[in-house]
Amino acid sequence: MKIEGRIWKFGSDVDTDAIIPARYLNQSDAKELAKHAMEDERPEFKKEVKKGDILLAERNFGCGSSREHAPLALKAAGISCIIAKSFARIFYRNGLNLGLPFLESSEASEAIRDGDRVRVNLTTGEIFDITQKRKFFAKPIPAFMQDLIRDGGLIKHLRKRGLKRKG
């Protein structure tokens, strides 16, 4: 699975209130949420972000509340992948459940610049900075998780492939 887009770079401990302020949580429509993604943190983001763009951050991305509205807003805004040094626990689980891929790489997080064009191969974990012509490697996304991402998240994945219940 390959992804290519422009980099939006953020720092450490970007919280879910920054990703989608709680004042917009009185509804759950993905397109409405996307209109306000990152608006306090970086006001131009919601206007300029394009489908396929990649978000880059440092440590503990997505800390704070359990609102699934946060990864939902980023995905609906067009973000195709998030690369960070580390992710907050609930956000990580929520993102994958929605079919939004995450890669962990400290080197990429430090070297890649805001605005760079980057190509990501989820199967191999290769992150290629086209602008700087530099290559980084993250742990690849396992095959079953790639299927889940391709299907558009856990629910669609289960519906498509059948809900197998244990015990």
């Binding site: 401990d13 919280d15 209130d17 920054a18 302020p21 709680a22 004042r23 949580l25 009185n26 509804q27 759950s28 306090d40 943190e41 440590r59 503990n60 800390c63 704070g64 509340s65 359990s66 609102r67 699934e68 509205h69 990864p71 939902l72 580390s86 907050a88 626990r89 609930i90 689980r93 929520n94 459940n97 929605l98 998240g153 856990l154 629910i155 669609k156 289960l158 519906r159 809900l163 219940r165 244990k166 015990g167």
Partner: protein, 419 residues
């Protein structure tokens, strides 16, 4: 094994588990609120589920933007109400009996020692104070739990935190947890189960224990837990309506880390903007003037919290330069505060008393901040824009510092108004 490992093993039908093991765990209680449950209900329905796993083991609590603050919020509540009616959910709490979920559910005896509790709210970790494993998830996971009664989990590593020494006057669980977060950082316990232990914890009332477990997530923790003791059993004895089980960590249990804190060295703490780990001793923050004080939330809306605030505010007026908003966390706490004359003290001091709601904690309503305003709050997060305008500031403290500062007009030690 640790207490956390024992609870998870028993819920996975296994003799033992180790950190890193992936398990399929049985869930004792699943919960959602007016923000997270609508998406979970959507996920539940999209999965093709027709029936909830157990209508007595799901709690739906409209508490964030309720009583409904606007039309959209009212629609969200309606989704919960309709779902509760369709599936005959026993524990749906309508306004009047609803309170802030993490204070309400223990009060109602719905969470008990040894339980596995999964909630679509990050502060679900609060119930660890009762010796349960509880953690927050998103809406899709909650939808799956409502359908199956199970959830896959990774067994977390343990982080043991030992508190010893004599607790100083005006210091509560809030100060201990803020101090700890200041020490280890907002990702200091990432993915870990924080185990609060030591003689100082044994002296803490349940309210302070709930506060500490509540903020485990602010250190990145998956859960926070305290072994049950006499104080725990005393709290649940009149509340429990079903059997429960007490687990304790083995002496030889292994932890990823152990840290010790001498609480006699911990004074009232304040977290400065814009991150909960930016913690200082209240005497070291300088003269910070404030526009608003909030006493409430799932962190500090307990009866004990209101009592300590009332002790400070009794016979005093709040500074004319600020607003004080007090929010009892549940109707039971509200009623008891009325009986004890606490509400009267708040009103006489110049405070406004709100019905139970999360409201201002997340900038929802009932006290949203304007640009440039500064609040001191007993809530749990001080991220940029958390309580309103992106150019507003939030400072976090316990109820004693909050009440004293409301009198002074700036952040101060309670001793400054209680000579």
């Amino acid at each position: 094994m640790t207490i956390t490992e024992k609870i998870l093993a028993s819920h996975a039908g296994r003799k033992g588990v180790s950190p890193g093991d992936l398990i399929d765990a049985r869930v004792d209680l699943a919960l959602g609120n007016d923000i997270t449950a609508p998406l979970a209900i959507q996920a539940f329905e999209e999965m093709g589920s027709k029936k909830v796993f157990n209508r007595n083991r799901i709690a739906l609590v409209p508490d964030h933007f309720t009583p409904a603050k606007d039309i959209l919020s009212a629609e969200q509540c309606k989704i919960l109400r309709n779902f509760a009616k369709t599936h005959r959910i026993t524990h749906f709490f309508e306004i009047g009996e609803a309170g802030i979920e993490h204070t309400l559910l223990p009060e109602q005896g719905l969470v008990l020692p040894g339980d596995v509790v999964i909630g679509a709210d990050s502060h679900t970790c609060t119930y660890g104070a009762l010796g349960a494993f509880s953690t927050g998830v998103g809406s899709t996971d909650l939808g799956a739990v409502m359908a199956t009664g199970r959830l896959w989990l990774k067994v977390p590593e343990g982080l043991k935190l030992i508190y010893y020494g004599k607790i100083n006057p005006w210091v509560s669980g809030k100060d201990l947890i803020l101090y700890t977060i200041g020490d280890i950082g907002v990702d200091g316990a990432l993915y870990q189960a924080m185990e609060f232990s030591g003689e100082a914890i044994r002296h803490l009332p349940m309210s302070s224990r709930f506060t500490m477990a509540n903020m485990a997530v602010e250190a990145g923790g998956k859960s926070g837990i305290i072994e049950p003791d006499k104080i725990t059993l005393n709290y649940i004895k009149s509340r429990a309506k079903r059997p429960y089980r007490i687990y304790r960590s083995d002496k030889e249990a292994r932890y990823a880390g152990v840290r010790e804190y001498d609480v006699s060295k911990i004074n009232p703490q304040v977290a400065l903007p814009h991150i909960p780990s930016n913690v200082k001793d209240v005497r070291e923050v300088g003269k910070i003037e404030i526009d608003q004080v909030v006493i409430g939330s799932c962190t500090n809306g307990h009866l004990d919290d209101l009592r300590v605030a009332a002790r400070i505010l009794k016979g005093k007026k709040i500074a004319s330069s600020l607003r004080l908003i007090v929010i009892p966390a549940t109707p039971e706490i509200y009623r008891q505060s009325l009986k004890e004359g606490i509400i009267e003290i708040f009103l006489s001091s110049g405070a406004v008393v709100s019905p139970p709601t999360c409201g201002p904690c997340l900038g929802g309503y009932m006290g949203v901040l304007a640009g440039g305003e500064r609040a001191l709050s007993t809530t749990n997060r001080n991220f940029r824009g958390r309580m309103g305008h992106a150019q507003s500031e939030v400072y976090l403290s316990g109820p004693a510092v909050a009440a004293a500062s409301a009198v002074k007009g700036w952040i101060c030690h309670p001793e400054e108004v209680m000579k």
